[in-house]
């Protein structure tokens, strides 16, 4: 669909190819020898406009993940109203 001035909109954002996750518990680290820290790791595969695929990995603690999850829950509820 042409935008203002008749220009074609550019696909600036990438496309999500894959969403992988894993859940683990950190037990010990060089800075803290005795841990019990649950951790969510997410690996996103994104393709940019020219087809180049990059993988972005990030970790979240449980409170961070709960925030992350609530974003998607909110998005899902808004989509239901369409």
């Amino acid at each position: 669909r042409p935008g203002p001035g008749g220009a074609r909109p550019l696909l600036v954002a990438g496309q999500l190819i894959d969403f992988q996750w894993k859940l683990g518990v950190a037990i010990s680290a060089d800075s803290c020898k005795s841990l019990k820290l649950p951790c969510v790791t997410v690996a996103l595969k994104v393709a940019d406009g020219s087809g180049n695929i990059t993988c972005k990995t990030f970790e979240m603690t449980v409170p961070q993940f709960q925030n992350f999850y609530s974003q998607f829950k909110e998005m899902a509820s808004v989509l239901e109203t369409f």
Binding site: Q20, K22, L23, A26, A29, D30
Partner: protein
């Protein structure tokens, strides 16, 4: 090995016999300080006012002296070669002696500074590690899988970067064994012989 000084360089250095030897010694101190920390043009203006010359003249004098010292240090020329190279400038014996002393006094430090200019591969800075147990993933539940996460801190040309890696304990053990083997190589006769011959 003699230094080959360009005409422009000789012109810049020609300012040195026009000032007191204490001024030349001060220029030498400024030159080395600039090599350590970078140049500061304000110094040239202050000196130019005191000496009643243009700041360009002072700047060329200091830069000419800096280049003389860095080229001599870079090539590690002998005392005799330094004296012969400077001789063509037609300076007084007192000034020649002062320049030689500046060279000998600062050569080691200048060479250390110059060694840091070589192109650089990322080098080890520090390492953080963490031992995890993976309990579930999108593809498999009910797991107990130990893994080690390593954050490698690297330096390259003054820039800091990090690399995060993950491996299982068996591979980590293998990695440690390989590194120990690399260290052991230093103790072999072959390596010892090569190092001895370079020294």
């Amino acid at each position: 090995m003699l230094l080959d000084l360009s005409e422009e360089h000789k012109e810049h250095l020609a300012f040195l016999p026009q000032v007191d030897s204490t001024v030349v010694a001060e220029f030498g101190r400024i030159a080395v300080e600039f090599l350590r920390r970078g140049s500061n043009p304000k110094i040239y203006e202050g000196a130019a006012r005191k000496l009643s010359v243009s700041s360009d003249t002072v700047q060329h004098g200091v830069e000419g002296l800096t280049y003389l010292l860095t080229e001599s240090s870079k090539l590690m020329i002998s005392e005799l070669d330094f004296q012969d190279s400077v001789f063509v400038l037609g300076f007084s014996e007192e000034l020649n002696k002062l320049l030689l002393q500046l060279y000998l006094d600062n050569r080691k430090e200048i060479r250390t500074i110059l060694s840091e200019l070589a192109p650089d591969l990322p080098s080890y800075h520090s390492l953080e590690w963490r031992l995890d147990v993976q309990l579930a993933s999108r593809s498999l539940r009910q797991q107990i899988k130990p893994s080690v996460t390593i954050k490698l801190h690297l330096n390259q040309n003054g820039d800091h970067s990090t690399k995060v890696l993950q491996t299982d304990p068996a591979t980590l053990l293998h990695l440690v064994q390989q590194l120990e083997q690399a260290l052991e190589e230093m103790k072999t006769n072959h390596c010892r012989r090569v190092v001895r011959n370079i020294k």
